[in-house]
Amino acid sequence: MLELKDICFERDNKKILDHINLVLDTSKFYVITGPNGSGKSTLAKIIMGIEKPDSGKIILNGEDITDKTIDERAKLGIGFAFQQPVQFKGITVYDLLKLATKKEISKHEACTILSKVGLCALEYVDREVNKSLSGGELKRIEIASVMARNPYIAIFDEPEAGIDLWSFQNLTEVFKEIQASSSGTTIVISHQERILNIADEIILMNSGTIQKVGEKEEIFDHIFKPKKCCKEVSAR
């Protein structure tokens, strides 16, 4: 179980996360959604330890991990697929997957991991993780590097971004599998209805706060409920 207690994060006089309280159950599949700039990625980075909250606590299975470093959290089973995949020089896809799994996996095993994100064939394992790969390819490798670790708490930041419709369908299947079989917590930041459909619970964020946590119907009602200002406009 992962608990976020009263997390605040402010930069440039702007409240990016404003008193976030959240309890995430083990073995549930969560989707965080909300407008651009609402603080979704920042929240994910705070869970991974990439950003430190100004105040508040992060509790993993009763243990306070607020002051733990990124690698300590990784070792506790937290994994995070970046919204913008990181590029390297001289590090191949195979190298990255070996680092991720912490094992001398064979190229065949590396291919099996890659095929989950729709990158089949050996041609990818020896490619460098650099700008010679397309945006979608980099994104899939990023996702694979997290899936390969099979984390206890897995966070994927907009996995669908830059991925074509056909592959996205397959990716949705992979997430469905995770939803059905994973014993840990999965958190996917997404705007895609297909992903929202899989969620056990949806977390709706807006301007640094959590607006609502609930099942799809409730959230959709909340999002599409006509707002006051719109009524005023239509009344005129």
Binding site: I50, D71, G79, F88, G90
Partner: protein
């Protein structure tokens, strides 16, 4: 050659150099072992001042190993090696110098390598430099490489200096005729108070000559590196120079790029980037469970691979 020599040798050439088609091993200023074959001849110059290597035209898949080792403190070894590569010959040359200096005097090797590529010749030249030993005497390496490429020839030059060289002054000069390609990749890692200076001068004289020069350097501790390139395009040609450096601690890197187009159809590009390890690369690797130190190592090893 004793065991220590063999170990030093293995730092610059992975496989046993005596397994190659032809080789010349030089230790402390003298040739100590040599093998030639009908296609590749190695002729010593007078007074141990170097060798001439003749590769017959149309030689296919030849290899030459010419390592140099120095184990004597205080030795200053100057050597001239000239490579005459015949028409359409295809050859791999592995050179390099390893110095073990356990004494208090400087040990120095100046290798002057001249390459003459005839029409259509193809050369892959690999050079490794390293220093070992615990003495306070410096390990100094000053290689000069001169490359003359005739029409349609092709050369790849791959040089690496990974550790233990206190002072280096590298000069690489090339002149390219038409339809030639020269690809240079240089990797230098300096630490402590080491100094490495490297200078490239490439003249593109023939139509459709092209060159790619890539320099990857890592300067750590108090070390200093200087990269100078001077590419001159005299005709319709293409050049791409890339200087990419990572600095750590008090490491300093200076890049002085110069490209000079003297013809409207010369297309010359220079890119230089110096900076510390990208923060996001560290963050990504740490999120996979590597400590900051491990992550740094992985990034630097990849960068210099």
């Amino acid at each position: 050659m004793n065991q220590e020599d063999k170990e030093l040798l293995s730092e610059i050439i992975e496989d046993d150099p005596t397994k190659a088609d032809s080789y010349n091993i030089r230790k402390n200023g003298k040739g100590i072992d040599r093998k030639v074959n009908p296609n590749i001849d190695i002729v010593p110059k007078e007074e141990n001042s170097g060798i001439d290597i003749y590769v017959k035209e149309d030689t296919l898949f030849g290899t030459v190993n010419i390592p140099v080792i120095i184990t004597e403190s205080g030795l200053k070894d100057v050597v001239y090696n000239d490579f005459h590569i015949g028409k359409n010959a295809n050859i791999i040359i592995v050179a390099g110098c390893g110095i073990t200096n356990n004494g208090h005097k400087d040990a120095r090797h100046d290798g002057i390598h001249r390459f003459y590529l005839e029409e259509g010749a193809r050369v892959k030249y690999i050079e490794r430099h390293c220093g070992l030993g615990v003495g306070e005497g410096k390990k100094v390496l000053n290689p000069v490489t001169e490359i003359h490429m005739k029409k349609g020839s092709y050369m790849v030059m791959d040089t690496t200096q990974t550790k233990g060289v206190d002072d280096t002054n590298r000069i690489t000069k090339a002149s390219l005729d038409s339809d030639t390609t020269l690809v240079i990749t240089e990797k230098i890692l300096t630490s402590n108070d080491q100094v490495a200076k490297t200078e490239f001068e490439v003249e593109l004289n023939g139509e459709n000559a092209s060159t790619h020069v890539t320099s990857r350097s890592v300067a750590t501790d108090d070390s200093y590196q200087e990269f100078t390139s001077n590419i001159i395009g005299n005709t319709k040609c293409y050049a791409h120079v890339e200087c990419d450096a990572i600095i750590k601690e008090n490491g300093k890197v200076k890049a002085v790029p110069e490209i000079y187009a003297k013809n409207i159809d010369a297309n010359l590009i220079h890119e230089a980037a110096i900076g510390k390890i990208a923060g996001e690369q560290l963050l990504k690797l740490m999120s996979l469970g590597l400590s900051e130190k491990e992550a740094e190592e992985v990034i630097i090893n990849g960068f210099l691979k």
